[in-house]
Symmetry: C2
Subunit: 217 residues, 2 copies
């Protein structure tokens, strides 16, 4: 049993990660980051999921740095969220510069101050095609830095880094993750738009896994 | 000539770094971070130094995450800043969890969005004895992660990592750094206290370098 801080966006991957860590018997706390994302709706999902899982959850407000993140369709408001498939060139507009290092650096600071053993994040193989900071080589380098950042040693866990999103959905299903509470859509309306890259990827993952996602929102 | 974001605390090391990068002919911008440090006075120094050097300067406000940084004498208010020498055991109270990774992650995000080539920070050998995130092996691991965080490649420069603070002072003196404008004291009053580890280290650095620091504040 270890003590683990889970980076919880409120999407299906990080929700599965949360349940996976709890299922392994770890003592878990969760952290979400508001970096000015258009779909801040996911942060409500993260809070709801944590409450249901009886896990302490903190929300770190980093909106003060949003202006430094430049033009992208998630933290910016001038570029529309592209519709279509993740493999499309337009999806690069959804890359937020160095997002994962920022999230993981803050999560690690919290883990160090709590004397926790690890920080976990839910990057999977489907992410790698578009997000550079979901690549295994990025995670490996950052893990080394995380382990060296303090005299108290914290490790970076990324248990899904060799799984695809369908496999994550399958694992989540077996763990009883309440997928209907998770939030995926990048447009951040009151319902999933069903057209953005994220929505399409979510639908495909459930189809590939052959599992239902529960009543959709 | 490269384009470089300098992490500028407002102290003598980062001020020297700023002048060093400008002297090398780089295009430079500077960033400072408010993480709730008791000596936020240093942020005024950073702004003043940037103005004098005619460099664009941004201040990133991360005070929303201060509660996650736990008990230390810099971002916390319950533990007093220890007096004495840096080598003293009590100085560990001044370690802010994962501070450098957070600063450098935000600086890197900005560098990526600007399409800059590098981020520079001023860690030196004197820092290593107490601050784990000033060690060369930490910087090396983080450099790898920084280079992999985006499709646009950014490097992490740490030109002082094998120099001591006296050598940094000597370099700064030769570059005409206005040391009297820099801020070092961890207590963050209106004048340097002269008694904390930082003040003692500053005085020793100038003595070892055999240079004057200009009219003290």
């Amino acid at each position: 049993m270890e003590k683990v801080v889970v980076v919880l966006s409120g999407g299906m991957d990080s929700a599965t990660l949360l349940y996976h860590m709890i299922h392994l018997g770890h003592e878990v706390r969760a952290i979400s980051i508001n970096y000015g994302q258009r779909h801040a709706r996911e942060l409500r999902a993260a809070a709801e999921l944590s409450r249901l899982a009886k896990v302490e959850h903190v929300l770190a407000d980093l909106t003060a740095i949003t202006p430094l993140l430049g033009n992208n369709s998630l933290s910016g408001r001038e570029i529309a969220v592209p519709e279509g498939h993740y493999a499309d060139e337009t999806m690069k507009l959804t890359v937020v510069p160095n997002r994962n290092m920022i999230l993981l650096a803050v999560a690690t600071a919290w883990a160090v101050s709590l004397k926790y053993d690890a920080v976990a994040y839910g990057a999977h193989t489907g992410d790698h095609t578009i997000y550079p900071d979901c690549r295994p080589e990025f995670a490996e380098a950052l893990d080394k830095a995380v382990q060296l950042c303090d005299w108290h040693k914290v490790r970076l866990l990324r248990p899904f880094v060799d799984m695809d999103k369908g496999q994550v959905a399958k694992l989540g299903h077996s763990l009883g993750v309440p997928f209907h509470l998770t939030w995926t859509c990048y447009k951040g309306g009151e319902k999933h738009c069903g057209k953005c890259g994220s929505c399409n990827e979510r639908r495909e993952a459930f189809a590939n896994a052959g599992v239902a996602q529960g009543p959709p929102r």
